[in-house]
Amino acid sequence: MNIKIVTKPFDPWQEIQQFQKTFSDMNGKFGATSVFVGTMRDFNDGDDIKGMTLEYYPGMTEKQLGQIITEAMKKWSVLNVLVVHRVGNVFPDDAIVLVSVWSSHRGDAFDTSRYIMEALKSKAPFWKKELLVSDEKRWVRNNTDGYKN
């Protein structure tokens, strides 16, 4: 597994390509690659948003993500997992998070990806502070349940 917390814009597709080059022992073994990319919107809760600052808890964030991925790899048959998450100043259309899973068959890749993403949303210590077009700043209060919306 690889967990990356990055402070600058990242290209999810380059990250995936690079990962596959690095972990070339997967070649010929994976039949499925799932990709989830979370991207910043320019609206939230009825307001126009022009930017966002993402804070995290260095050390604990990586630890929690590691535990989430380890748990997922026990539940499903998975070859490898890549998680990239942005912190710092983020702008609309920037990728915030990438969860990519490699497995022999699609079911394991889809299910693992969803599990990691939902667990990340509820357990990984990241916090978003939005900057509205009106220049008001506000903390996002909580994440919604991904299975309900």
Binding site: G38, E55, K121, K128, N142
Partner: protein, 77 residues
């Protein structure tokens, strides 16, 4: 015993501190740590706690050199 206490995000702003070192003589729970560190401010209902970067309940006892963190619900992803 000596404990490091850290605060994050909106809680850090409302408390006005990001971290502090506290020294206690008696055994304390995480809840006690909050009370000792924030005498004039009650703990918001939605605050989460971690000891040494693992989520814990507020009844958990802390040990010397522990890092105790308080923060609001997480909003990553």
């Amino acid at each position: 015993m000596s404990i490091k206490v850290r605060y994050f995000a909106s809680l850090k702003e409302s408390i006005g501190r990001s971290e502090e070192e506290l020294v206690f003589k008696q055994t304390l729970s995480v809840s006690d740590v909050w009370k000792q560190a924030n005498k004039s401010q009650s703990r918001p209902d939605n605050v989460l706690a971690a000891v040494n970067m693992e989520y814990v309940g507020f009844d958990t006892l802390v040990n010397d050199d522990d890092e105790v963190a308080f923060f609001p619900p997480v909003t990553g992803g």
